[in-house]
């Protein structure tokens, strides 16, 4: 999610902070992610919705249209449509057209499989549709190890079709991993050469990402490298505001430096379940369902979970840290799915406190809900993956060693805060 940047804030006085306002929630989300289907032709190892097979309870075309009607009434100006691969829904283009006719702009994420020259031309002609092609390596080796054999060519072909059709500023969306963070300049050059815009986001231990988090998430050194790169080149690079935990290094990054879950963002999944954010598909973050009386608007307005998220938050063990104002304790989903308390440090805390806390956590972190993975294995690129960064630091290695079951103990030995170890109860 990029909020168009807080530079977009226009104030005659310039005193009140918008972030304060955002924390207590808005009348409607600014940024809504809508996963239209769990069906997907790929099986990316880090898929945050564990997609693959279609869920038979998927919202029908009529139900999707009703959701769009609601979004129009609530003045949700645009939705980020994803999946799964949303374009595999036979009614995908129909729904995009319906949304546009009802003043709801669409930005959709795709792996590119269905972006033919004809589709690219049609998209270019539409004012209210934006496209984001996923790519997780600037080379086929790095990309295909994550997204599957042939997926690099698939994405590149789609991008060339978009560029040739004259679609200016489509997005190339990259999840940052240990293997591709060294390719940032290459990604930027690729985007520039196609007249596209680079978008990089944070790997989350959500969905199948939970299974590969330990091997794919950035090392401490790489996080610093990414931060420095963003400070130097961040002007024209979108980040979905997903690296606010790196603000702990000092200078805040462009965009909204806070967690917007349930406050300014949320997720509608293919069966209509509403979660606090796209990275939190778990009962603990389930706010309701759009099929219930009152629909999506009632969930957004009345959910107890959202009310809690919009209330005052305890900084917990982080409250006394000098970086807390900058990093806000990091990402809720990243903490939850690594087994950390929500009011403690992010697993990738730039001060290393997350690594220390992880050493105290039971190996069994909560599992992401709903596995829609293909039951058959998908051909994955084999062979060595070139890694351009040095060995893991010793402290990372130490925390992956089996640690004794210490669930429920304070995140730090001296943590006397009554909320230490508190996790959001299932609704």
């Amino acid at each position: 999610m990029t909020i168009g940047g807080l530079p977009g804030a226009v104030s005659p006085a310039g005193t009140a902070t918008l972030v304060e306002e955002f924390r207590s929630g808005l009348a409607a989300p600014i940024c809504l992610t809508w996963e239209l289907t769990y069906a997907c032709n790929l099986s990316c190892v880090h898929c945050l919705s564990s997609s693959g097979r279609r869920d038979p309870r998927e919202l029908s075309t009529a139900e999707c249209r009703r959701v769009i009607d609601e979004l129009e009434r609530m003045q949700v100006f645009y939705v980020n449509i994803g999946g799964g691969e949303p374009t595999v829904r036979p009614d995908f283009w129909d729904l995009v057209g319906y949304a546009n006719a009802h003043h709801v702009g669409v930005k959709f994420s795709t792996n590119g499989a269905r972006i033919t020259p004809e589709v690219a031309a049609r998209l270019t002609a539409s004012d209210y549709v934006d496209v984001q092609v996923s790519l997780d390596g600037a080379t086929a080796e790095v990309n295909d190890a994550i997204r599957g054999a042939g997926s690099f060519e698939l994405a590149l072909r789609a991008m060339r079709h978009l560029a040739r059709a004259g679609f200016a500023g489509f997005k190339i969306s990259v999840v940052m991993t240990r293997q591709n963070v060294g390719q940032l300049d290459k990604f930027k050059a690729l985007a520039d050469s196609l007249g596209a815009q680079l978008r990089i986001t944070r790997l989350r231990p959500s969905g199948r990402g939970a299974d590969v988090w330990d091997e794919l998430h950035l090392t401490a050194g790489q996080q610093r490298q990414l931060y420095d790169w963003l400070v130097a080149h961040g002007e024209n690079v979108l980040t979905g505001d997903s690296f606010f935990h790196l603000a702990g290094y000092g200078q805040p990054l462009p965009g909204l430096n806070m967690c917007g879950a349930g406050r300014v963002v949320c997720l509608i999944d293919p069966v209509g379940d509403v979660y606090a954010c796209p990275f939190a598909i778990h009962d603990a973050f389930l706010a309701g369902n759009v099929r219930s009386p009152g629909g999506f608007a009632a969930v957004w307005r009345d959910s107890e979970l959202f009310a809690r998220l919009r209330g005052p938050q305890s900084g917990g063990v982080c409250a006394s840290c000098s970086a807390y104002d900058a990093c806000q304790g990091g990402c809720m989903a990243a903490k939850f799915f690594t087994g950390l308390p929500l009011d403690g440090p992010d697993p990738e805390c730039v001060r290393g406190l997350g690594q220390r806390a992880l050493a105290l956590v039971d190996a069994a972190a909560p599992r992401p809900a709903g596995d829609h993975s293909h039951r058959t294995s998908v051909t994955r690129a084999t062979g060595p993956v070139p890694v351009s960064i040095g060995p893991r630091p010793a402290d990372v290695v130490a925390t992956t060693a089996s640690s004794p079951a210490r669930r429920g103990v304070p995140a730090r030995a001296c943590g006397q805060d009554p909320l230490a170890g508190f996790a959001l109860p299932a609704r």
């Binding site: 168009g4 977009g8 104030s11 009140a16 918008l18 306002e21 808005l26 209210y128």
Partner: protein
């Protein structure tokens, strides 16, 4: 781009939608795909008054903006004009 002029007529850009919020309003431009935030209800009143007022200055007066605050509002409106959230209202 023309400089913002308090004594000209302005309007909300036809591709911009306004969503009132507790702090003021959210503006979205469907053409540029940019969001903007009006950080005060008074500024929202000014923006809403633009369409029906002969000049931006008149819209400010109509929304109850005093002379002392006028320069701040002029700056805010200039920012909105620069990002095409509002535009000059020429003979329609």
């Amino acid at each position: 781009m023309d400089a913002f002029d308090l004594d000209s007529a302005y309007r909300l850009h036809p591709q911009v939608s306004v969503r009132p919020e507790r702090f003021g309003a959210l503006l979205y431009h469907f053409g540029t795909r940019r969001l903007s935030f009006l950080k005060s209800p008074a500024l929202l009143s000014v923006v809403t008054a633009l369409d029906g007022a002969p000049t931006a200055r008149a819209a400010c007066a109509q929304a109850g903006v005093g002379a002392a605050e006028l320069p701040a509002y002029a700056r805010a409106l200039a920012t909105l004009a620069a990002s095409q959230m509002i535009c000059a209202r020429t003979a329609a």
